[in-house]
Amino acid sequence: MKRTLTAVFLTALLTLSLCACGQSGTETADVDLASLGQELTALCGEDLYELDSETITMLYGDTATAQALVWSSSGTTADEVALFQAEDADGAAALLSTAQQRIADRTESYADYMPDESAKLEKAIAEQHGTYVVVCVCSQPEEAQSILDEAFGS
């Protein structure tokens, strides 16, 4: 009887902890990506333009997303703001991996071309918050981080 109660208790505990883990990916409060984008792009100066969905797919792959907003420079700088809401946490993890690879490749490309921009890319922000993925390449990464901390309650 004692063993049975212990087993039931452990099973219940495990079930509850698994539920909690699953929710941690989606627990993040809804974030208004358009507003967040406005705040972040304001840190990047005037030369930033919104990309269409086809171009976003070219840059970040064909990962299924509920929402994707990307702003990029015309070429004057390496600045970029990319905000995604994936369909699930796995999709977000895949997007984050692609974003990190993209940042690494761009850092390498800019090293000989615009070294200052390469240094900016080295301080780029790429984060996952549940199903959300955020990328920010700008000259004020500390300010960008503060905005993100506030938005995602970190």
Binding site: E46, D47, Y49, L51, D52, E54, T55, T57, M58, S72, S74, G75, T76, Q101, D105, E108, S109, Y110, D112, Y113, M114
Partner: protein
């Protein structure tokens, strides 16, 4: 005998004394004339300036970031003067021959024309990729790309994860149209002919990789007046010089030359300031104008 000689010498001295004032006066006049004329005949003025009836505008002198820049700018001046001297007269047979590979205006094609097209180029082509709105085409672009780095530098990430050069990436898929835009990052090269030579070798390589593709060389787009005024080697004179070489190259290699510059330049041949943030790269509206030009300029 001696008396005669003495008398002869005295007469001679007297004659010399009588002539001397005139000689000195003549010498003084000559010196005066020479001194007065000197400021009007600059010793180092180039022949072209002496002939010109227009005021000579001098380029703004800018200290180069490194000594190599100075060499390049000097080389530029020499080449520009040579180009002016060697420029064939308008309407000559040579000019007609050179423009035979120039793509003229044609009926607009549907965007599906670019389904099997690949665009290869530098940061300006990357801007086109981002903002033209042509998502059905393929792109092999890299900031800072040159005719040399497209084959030598690994900049393209394949789906396998491997990083390869643009030329190696080009071999991964078959294309029927290849659009090239390179040259902006080579404007500082000391020898423009070397740029044309390397560009030619690149075209040969593309032909081997994509034997069925129509190859388009796109002209190097102009820069703004403000960029010109910086006095750096990135200027419209240099760009025009390179574009002439590219047009000749198109003829030599029997590929097509697209004068996309005419789509975005103003009446003075410069990039309008309102379609470029930094005087070099195009804002989205400029990229869309560029795409419209491509749809109405296709090889026959």
């Amino acid at each position: 005998m001696n008396g005669n000689l003495v008398q002869k010498n005295r007469r001679s001295r007297r004659r010399r004394r009588r002539r001397s004032p005139w000689k000195w006066a003549l010498a003084a006049v000559i010196i005066l004339v020479v001194v007065l004329m000197t400021p009007f005949v600059p010793a180092n003025e180039p022949t072209v300036h002496k002939k010109s009836t227009q005021p000579v505008s001098r380029p703004v002198e800018v200290l180069p970031e490194n000594p190599q820049d100075s060499i390049e700018q000097d080389a530029d001046k020499d080449q520009e003067e040579t180009a002016q001297e060697e420029e064939p007269p308008s309407g000559s047979g040579e000019e007609t021959k050179v423009s035979s590979r120039l793509v003229g205006e044609s009926e607009a094609v549907d965007l599906s024309y670019f389904d099997d097209a690949v665009f290869i180029g530098d940061s300006r082509m990357e801007g086109f990729k981002l903002y033209a709105g042509l998502g059905n085409a393929s792109y092999l672009t890299s900031v800072g790309a040159t005719v040399d780095t497209v084959a030598a530098k690994a900049t393209e990430r394949l789906s396998s994860g491997a990083k390869v050069s643009i030329m190696d990436a080009l071999a991964q898929k078959s294309f029927t149209k290849v659009y090239l835009m390179l040259g902006m990052n080579e404007l500082g090269w000391v020898y423009p002919d070397l740029f044309a030579e390397h560009y030619g070798a690149l075209i040969d390589q593309i032909r081997q990789i994509q034997p069925n593709a129509v190859i388009y060389i796109e002209s190097i787009l102009p820069v703004t007046q403000a960029k010109d005024d910086e006095g750096y080697y990135v200027n419209n004179d240099r760009i025009n010089q390179y574009n002439e070489l590219l047009m000749e190259l198109a003829e030599e290699k029997e590929v097509w030359y697209l004068d996309v510059s005419e789509a975005v330049e103003d009446e003075s041949g410069k990039l309008p300031a309102d379609i470029s943030f930094d005087g070099v790269h195009l804002k989205p509206e400029g990229c869309k104008t560029w795409l419209t030009y491509l749809t109405t300029h296709t090889a026959p």
